[in-house]
Amino acid sequence: MTEQQKNTLPVTETRLERKKEPFDPGYFLRKNVVPIFFLVLCIIGGYYSGLSLPFLANEIITRMARNSFLVISLIIPILAGMGLNFGIVLGAMAGQFAYVVTVNWEMAGLSGFLMTCILSVPLAIVFGWLTGRLFNRAKGKEMISGIILGFFANGLYQLVCLFFMGRIIPIRVPSMLLSTGVGLRNTLDIKAMHYALDNIWKVRIKIPGFVFPIMIPMATIAVIVVLCLFIRFIVKTKLGQEFRAVGQDRHIAEVAGIKVDRVRIIAIIFSTVLAGLGQVIFLQNLGNINTYGSHVQVGTFAVAAILIGGASVKKATISQALLGTLLFHTLFIVSPLAGKNLVGDAMIGEYFRVFVTYGVIGIALALHAWQSLQQRKTVTVEAASEPVSGGGK
């Protein structure tokens, strides 16, 4: 094993050298093939959807503000070499539990929203800690564990919300509960906190000839910018260096004196807490919670978005996360309409979008597994002088 690890080093070094090469359009295309493909798909879909540009822009801005936070929460675990954190579903659950509490306390407006944020953090820390411990027991299988953990946690979540709320956990507001007095309703109304963050500062841009102005929720965007700066800052700190060291090679990091397991747990806690806050922001924009559904697809959608942006299982940047969110949600908006106009039925577009969501994840994971297999092969053959497989990324 140790011999192999020594040999992996030149591979990464050559890859770094490749980056410094002068601009090569072919290489640029190959490197960004995924986002370019989806950009083309979005443009085609946008054309055939027949939506007006201002309407589309409005929708995209809303969705960007709503989802970016969740997608960005995936970055740190990728840096720490833990792959795509499908466990952010637990963070989303923390956010929703926090909402249950604040709605139960009948809080409203910005103070209610802030309280929800504050409450979601300790819950998310606990969930993240548990997730991190689980991932440490399943090293190398983090992603499949994360997927299954999401399903498992969803079962527990349903148990708590359906059978404990109102029975073991007292709920003061009767309208939250089902008519039997036990279990939360399917939709939890949070109208009191609707747009609590978005409404702080909204910029309206009038477009001549269109009824609705383009609305830009500046406050939410500001929060996302702050988050991006925070991620950049974290990466530069000692902790961030440790994340990357662990992500590069667990064993070498261990030898270098980094407590690998602890760093990995911290990475997952970061991700889970950010996902919790992301879900709180997401829901304040929606205005109601689909109690048993809002969190289920969070992991899948966020992962698909960041992959569409060109991230891989090993490498992700903030710009990839943002670009991916943009492309994925544009596809989200245009595909039903484009499907309707092209084939005559909106369901086709809808199915196509679901297929793309799952397919992108599947293909990205397969490509990653294939590449790392190739890399391992070249290393074991010790023909690592010119690793062709490394250049594909």
């Binding site: 689980l134 027991r137 399943a138 090293k139 190398g140 299988k141 992603m143 499949i144 564990s145 997927i147 299954i148 953990l149 399903f151 498992f152 969803n154 079962g155 527990l156 349903q158 148990l159 359906l162 059978f163 039997t180 036990v182 279990g183 084939v343 005559g344 039925d345 369901m347 086709i348 199915y351 196509f352 679901v354 297929f355 969501t357 799952y358 397919g359 994840i361 599947g362 994971l365 397969a366 990653h368 597994a369 294939w370 790392s372 297999l373």
Partner: protein, 359 residues
């Protein structure tokens, strides 16, 4: 690796091994089942009815669970890509109706064609699995999801004409559930069915399942099966013995997907309906959970694991439903199903022993 061959002298060892494999999670599940059974007895639920529905549901799911064995043994882990084979089986079943077949003819046509299609797609899937060694489970999960959603488009666009399958008032595509009433609904269940103490025994179904268990059992003991297990247990050793690792992994995948296709046809036969569109999305997880409950791990599974696991899992589902209905609300058994099935998979993933990342 396979100890089933050995005879009496190793019984004690087998029991010891079984107890070690059993583990905490399975003990909890068994305890849960016992509690449920006691509760059912106390509440005076009709045990004969429960028993016959356990048998019927066992037969309904058993072949899907059996499909896990070849992939686990060949070292590709539980087959999370099961929806691929399921889709093949569904296509075959739908075709049998389109061709206006009935009864056993329709069933055997669907089983045969499904197995054939499953084998072909299983071959391609095996090639994919060979490209992603070490990440088969993750890739398989999302590959399965994509296949389900891709098939949604197929069900929607496919030019089927049979009035039983398309929407009555001119919607496009196949129905979400297709009733098999006059086709092959319960033909196996009703074959030589008899009653013991008020519990009806679906003889035909159980016989059919038994035949497939035997096929898998014999296959795993054949030269190919032993080579396949060797490849799964220790790929380097297998390679040095002159076995082609990739070839046997593909064989495992072919066999597994063919079984999955047969499994879904039998599932539909017992259920009485063909469920299309998103219905197969999570089926793989329940099959994986079943075989794991039976004592399998991520790299070792036998026919007995599949049978015991399927029986235990279905028993819990069948018994928990009426018990939960009396005690609390109806949804509890669904929630229990999610928690148990995913809990056991998580447990298997986090066990210290060798997993998918060894190679």
């Amino acid at each position: 690796m396979n100890r089933e061959n050995s005879h009496k002298p190793e019984w004690s060892e087998r029991i010891k091994e079984w107890a070690r494999d059993f583990g905490v999670a399975r003990s909890i599940i068994l305890l849960f089942l016992v509690i449920l059974l006691v509760a059912a007895l106390i509440m005076g639920l009709p045990m004969s009815q429960l028993f016959s529905s356990i048998l019927s549901r066992f037969g309904m799911n058993a072949i899907l669970v059996l499909a896990m064995i070849p992939t686990i043994q060949s070292g590709t882990g539980p087959n999370f890509g099961l929806p691929l084979g399921i889709a093949c089986g569904l296509v075959a079943a739908v075709l049998s109706i389109e061709l206006d077949m009935r009864g056993f003819q329709a069933l055997f046509f669907a089983v045969g064609l499904g197995a054939l299609l499953g084998a072909v797609t299983g071959y391609l899937y095996g090639l994919l699995l060979n490209k992603v060694k070490g990440q088969e489970m993750t890739v398989g999960t999302y590959f399965g999801f994509s296949i389900v959603s891709l098939m949604c488009i197929f069900w929607f666009m496919a030019p089927f004409k049979s009035p039983e399958m398309i929407w009555p008032y001119g919607g496009s595509g196949l129905r979400v559930t297709i009733a098999l009433q006059d086709r092959f609904d319960k033909v196996l269940n009703n074959f030589m069915e008899f009653e013991v103490f008020g519990a009806s025994i679906p003889t035909g179904l159980l016989l059919f399942v038994a035949v497939f268990c035997l096929i898998v059992w014999i296959f795993m003991r054949s030269k190919t099966g032993v080579a396949l297990s060797t490849v799964g247990a220790n790929p380097r050793f297998a390679e040095s013995c002159g076995l082609s690792v990739n070839k046997y992994r593909v064989i495992g995948s072919v066999f597994s997907q063919a079984l999955a296709a047969v499994g879904i046809v039998i599932y539909a036969q017992t259920f009485g309906f063909i469920q299309l569109y998103m219905a197969p999305l999570y089926m793989a997880f329940f099959a994986v959970a079943s075989v794991l409950i039976g004592g399998a791990s991520l790299n070792r599974a036998t026919v007995w694991h599949a049978i015991i696991g399927c029986f235990l899992f279905q028993s819990i589902l069948v018994v928990s439903m009426p018990v939960a209905n009396v005690l609390v609300e109806e949804n509890l058994s669904e929630v229990a199903r999610i928690i148990i099935s995913n809990g056991i998979i998580l447990y298997a993933l986090t066990r210290r022993e060798a997993g998918g990342d060894v190679r």
